[in-house]
């Protein structure tokens, strides 16, 4: 025996190294892996005491409340097949995906990623890798909604008739202490007032406004109506209220606005550019279009579901599971009743 070891010591050493290496690899790759279990031929998800929670039982529990998921799967399929993907849509979807991924990265937490994954699954997308597909679907659905609203605007515009719809513009003037303006600040304020009076609000905004984003668009802030809120628009509550109070062509006095994040107080003026719904609808600004569409969809309960059903007419739809059809119908009814 010892002769055998002496003669083959190198081979034995190599063999021991191989087995040790493979053994460690097997141990490491099995760490954190679950065993599989079956009960009466069914996959077991979890067990405790003498009870098994099977995949079938879990699904039965789930499926009682799956109306929202069925609707989302139906929506995804209808949108996917009803709207042709354009290059522009792909760009928008990529940008949306990038924003969400960047938020996930900045959180630096797999818990946050898990939360996004769960959210995506509830929208009908199986994994975090499907984020782009979800983003593209939302862009395509917005296009579907826009097309429908444009085509049916005459009948839909009534839903906003009492909502004080309007397009507003703003001018911002920064001041160290708005209560005690310096000579230079007073001069600037007077120049703005004079420019509004002699030229136009748009020209004054372009020339003087300290808000770069709106100044670049002749002061245009966007669409608001009585359903708008500070959180949905990003416009201060006092400015919003004043914007809804004014008539077309009117401009507010200077209003002090405190930035909720920095605490810095600035002076603002708000101007109503347009209140005619037809003209608002014809406005080409993308933000105005998006906000108006959002308001119309919100003002009429179930409109989005109606638009989907309209698009679905062109597709062959078959329900192999009648329970699923009933649950989907019930969910759509809830959407139309505004309760879902």
């Amino acid at each position: 025996m010892s002769d055998l070891i002496k003669d083959n010591w190198f081979v034995i050493l190599i063999a021991v190294i191989i087995i040790a290496f493979v053994g460690y690899f097997v141990y490491d790759s099995n760490t954190g892996k679950v065993d599989s279990k079956k009960a009466d031929g069914k996959d077991v998800v979890a067990s405790l005491a003498d009870s098994n929670i099977t995949a079938d039982a879990l699904f039965e529990n789930f499926s009682q409340f799956d109306g929202a998921l069925l609707y989302n799967l139906y929506r995804n399929a209808v949108v996917e097949q009803s709207v042709e993907t354009t290059k522009e849509m792909e760009e928008q979807a990529k940008s949306m995906e990038k924003t969400i991924r960047s938020n996930v990265s900045s959180q630096n937490s797999s818990t946050y990623r898990d939360a996004i994954t769960q959210e995506l699954a509830s929208y009908g997308y199986g994994s975090y890798d499907d984020l782009y597909d979800y983003a593209l679907m939302t862009v395509k659905q917005r296009s579907l909604n826009q097309e429908y609203v444009d085509a049916h605007f005459e009948e839909l515009k009534d839903s906003l008739k009492d909502a004080k719809p309007r397009i507003v513009s703003i001018i911002k003037m920064e001041a160290a202490d708005p209560q005690n303006l310096t000579d230079e600040e007073t001069k600037k304020r007077d120049s703005i007032d004079k420019a509004i009076e002699s030229d136009s609000f748009a020209q004054a905004a372009t020339a003087f406004s300290d808000d770069a984003a709106t100044a670049a668009k002749d002061g245009l802030f966007g669409y608001i109506d009585s359903s708008s809120s500070a959180s949905s628009t990003g416009l201060d509550q006092n400015l919003l209220a004043k914007g809804l109070e004014l008539n077309k062509g009117e401009t507010s006095d200077w209003i002090e606005v405190k930035n909720s994040q920095t605490g810095v107080i600035s002076l603002y003026k708000i101007h109503v550019d347009e209140t005619d719904l037809e003209k608002i609808h014809q406005n080409k600004d993308e933000d105005v279009k998006k906000s108006l569409l959002f308001s119309i969809l919100n003002a009429k309960a179930g409109l989005e579901a109606d638009i989907l059903e309209n698009a679905a007419k062109d597709l062959k739809i078959e329900f192999e599971d009648q329970d699923a059809k009933e649950k989907l119908d019930r969910y759509i009814e809830q959407l139309k009743g505004g309760n879902a």
């Binding site: 063999a15 087995i19 679950v34 005491a49 799967l73 898990d114």
Partner: protein
């Protein structure tokens, strides 16, 4: 040479075959179609996978809790009546409750009572039982005792308060004379636990370990730059005698619900057999993976 290496290579191959692939669960009729929209079909299997990802972690724990309820606090007539009464109370304040629960997916009122109200009543009963079943851990962690505590703003006042208590004056009388007006510790009888973060730890420990009821022998001082001074009368530190009061007070503590769940998951060897769910729990609530003590320890460290 080649022959000699054949054996270890075969052994390695055998070992490698022991590498398990990730096991995720599936339902029996996974390939059955639910609906077909144009050229897109949705199967039950797809639906199961999506529901498992979005709601699985919560739903599996809910189902495990139902197993625990049936083992520990099975439904009785009294519980059924309590659940019915709770539903009646909701219905009195909301005429549309039945329509709403049907819209949510419940079959009817009884389905809602069975799936929501009754488990709620069982959960309350289980929490009470937990205070008996896991008494040792709870007593060790919360050090509960019933006591009359008085907060004073100076050492001098506290010394005088202690003397007055020793002389037989009631705690309320002493609190009125020497206590801090703005304090919530005014000599009333109350449950003292480690949750009372304002109290000196030494006082909580002393009350819990005292061998007999009565005036605590010293003034207890907080260890901060602006100390407060406390004197106390121990009423009782008998856990068994006070268990109902302890359960009523601590039962609403949010961390207690999790401790209770983990205790019974451990008692009944809760085990997960789906890799996706296991990974989720491992990341988010490792304390539920009770058969993996190494992971549970991680959870305790990060708590």
């Amino acid at each position: 040479m080649k022959k000699s290496l054949a054996m270890p290579l075969m052994l390695s191959a055998l070992l490698l075959s022991g590498c398990s692939s990730e096991h995720t669960t599936s339902i029996t009729d996974a390939s059955e179609k639910v609906m077909t929209i144009g050229d897109v079909s949705v199967t039950k299997g797809q639906e199961y996978d999506l529901l498992k990802t979005s709601n699985g972690p919560v739903q599996v724990i809910t189902m495990a809790q139902n197993v625990i309820y049936d083992k520990e606090v099975p439904v009785n007539e009294e519980m059924k009546k309590e659940a019915e009464d709770q539903f009646k109370l909701i219905a009195e304040n909301n005429e549309k409750v039945v329509d709403q629960i049907v819209n949510l997916g419940y079959k009817d009122k009884q389905d809602y009572i069975d799936k929501v109200m009754l488990p709620g009543v069982q959960a309350q009963a289980l929490m009470k039982k937990y205070f008996v079943d896991d008494a040792e851990t709870i007593e060790l962690q919360y050090k509960p005792s019933i006591a009359q505590v008085i907060q004073c703003d100076t050492k001098e006042n506290a010394d005088q308060a202690l003397q007055a208590l020793k002389d037989g004056k009631s705690a309320q009388e002493v609190a009125e004379q020497y206590g801090l007006d703005s304090s919530s510790y005014t000599g009333s009888e109350e449950l003292v636990t480690t949750n009372d973060s304002a109290l000196p730890t030494r006082l909580i420990n002393a009350l819990n370990s005292a061998s007999e009821a009565g005036v605590m022998p010293e003034v207890y001082e907080t260890e901060d730059s602006n100390p407060s001074y406390y004197v106390a009368v121990l009423v009782s530190n008998d856990y068994d005698e006070n268990v109902d009061r302890i359960a009523d007070t601590l039962g609403s503590d949010s961390s207690m619900s999790k401790s209770c769940l983990v205790y019974y998951l451990t008692k009944y060897d809760f085990e997960v057999y789906d890799q996706e769910l296991f990974d989720y729990y491992k990341q988010n609530t490792p304390e539920y993976l009770v058969t993996h003590p190494d992971l549970m320890e991680t959870a305790k460290e990060t708590d």
